[in-house]
């Protein structure tokens, strides 16, 4: 199962992330996780939010360049070496990870992965019995 991630194009300008976060907040959209990728003159903010479709709509209304991307969110134990095992499965099947970000809380860690091949990646995770989160799990 994949999850829809929200991606927002941002110029490198002070206060710009704030504008995104405020807009989401005003519309009652909660953020579960996000990461910021940056280049010298622009950045891409990637977020997992409570309502992607609504987020796209409200941000577009504010003239942001926004898109949603399918990603995989997996859950593993918050212990040393747990993620390494899973990434090893993916590498063995030649699945390349374009980017990933993660957060850990209590005994579980959630990892957002954007692989080059979603289907293949899911198949590997399924076969190895990894926990892949769905929209409602977050």
């Amino acid at each position: 199962m994949t999850i829809k991630q929200l991606s927002v194009f941002l110029e490198n300008k002070t206060g710009r992330i704030n504008d995104v976060v405020r807009t989401l907040g005003q519309n009652g959209i909660n953020m579960h996780a996000f990461s910021m990728a940056e280049t010298t003159d622009f950045g891409i903010l990637r977020l997992i939010v409570s309502d992607v479709d609504k987020a796209v709509e409200v941000l577009r209304a504010q003239n942001f360049a926004v898109m949603s991307t399918e990603v995989i969110c997996l859950s593993c134990d918050n212990t040393p070496g747990s993620l390494a095992v899973i990434l090893e499965y993916l590498a063995e099947e030649k699945i390349f990870i374009e980017y990933m970000y993660a957060f850990a809380q209590n005994d579980k860690a959630h990892v957002v992965i954007k692989p080059n091949d979603l289907k293949a990646c899911l198949a590997v995770l399924d076969a190895k019995g990894c926990t892949v989160l769905q929209k409602g799990d977050l």
């Binding site: 991630q5 194009f9 003239n63 360049a65 898109m67």
Partner: protein
Amino acid sequence: MFWNENKECMPREQMRELQGKRLQKLVTYVYHNVPFYRKKMQEMDLSPDDIRSIDDIVKLPFTTKQDLRDNYPYGLQAAPASEIVRVHASSGTTGNPTIVGYTRKDLAIWSEVMSRCLTAYGVTRDDTFSVSYGYGLFTGGLGAHYGVENLGATVIPASTGNTEKHIRLIRDLNITGIACTPSYAMYLAEVMEKMGLTKKDLGLRIGAFGAEPWTENMRKEIQDRLGLKGYNIYGLSEIMGPGVSYECQEQNGSHINEDHFFPEIIDPNTLQPLPYGQQGELVFTTLTKEGMPLLRYRTKDLTSLIDAPCPCGRTSVRMTPIMGRSDDMLIIRGINVFPSQVESVILEMKEFEPQYMLIVDRKGNLDTLEIQVEVRRDFFSDDIGAMLALKKSLSDKLKSVLSISADVKLVEPNSIARSQGKSKRVIDNRKLV
């Protein structure tokens, strides 16, 4: 010192008479050899016989850059192809460059007027003179080159680039004069200082600077750092190239070689001629040109003309420094750039909104050009590599169209100010006037 005292110091009345005769001949020539002008004159119910003196020039039609573009490549050429011995080209606003063909006589006149300029600056046959304008389709390099040769001085065709080697040549070959853009002169001073040399190590005494606007402050700085005296040289490829006008030792306006290039100032809106002293758009008629003669060519340069006698003894009309343009052309690092060129590139790429902004600045001594473009909401990609590739693809296309590199900045949709009327596409932060 004069190169051609007879022409440069000709009494005004005599000059007007000469101009009138040349104009009559020119109009007859273009009427019979350039269908474009014949048609225009016929539409205005004008025949060559209606031109009896230089005062009648106001009856003639104007020529614009658009006309040159519409008649690309050789539509305005008057001389048969067999008489053309050289072609130069300058950048067009969109697509077609302007092609200018020269006959052997045109080149001789070009060398003559360049020799007048150089002599006014104090160059003699004992000088060794470096030409550091670009050689090639641009008129700067070859135009200055043949002027130096015609005068009898030694020319060093250094062109641009390899500045350290150039500075060593200036020192080792006792180069006394240089022709280049004022910004290149500043760069030369910088490199010289970095090499641990001072102006005393170099024997430069004369600089012929042009192809881009420059200020009195820049003049002072260049003179101070290179130990030379810097003179303005003005020209444009449509009319001839460098050598249309030049400063004398007085450095108070540039004398126009008006036995060859007849100047007028017009109101760019009403197209009515303006009297001496009033600022407007500079218009030239090429009185003696054979290859591509032009009637009343609108340069779009804003200036005024001074007809008061100059203490140097020259009687020719002078033009004041260019105060700006009546169109949106920018001169960046000596290259003509039109916002419409940028627009044409952006319109071809569906990933961008048709919105852009050019930000021109001068950092150190180098002009910089930043081009901001809006990413279209529906073409934005989550993949940074793809976004960077998109940016590079735009940079490459712009470079091939503009001939200079620009710093592309991708901005958010709707972040460039929209306006109801004529949109503002350029922010020029250089202080040049």
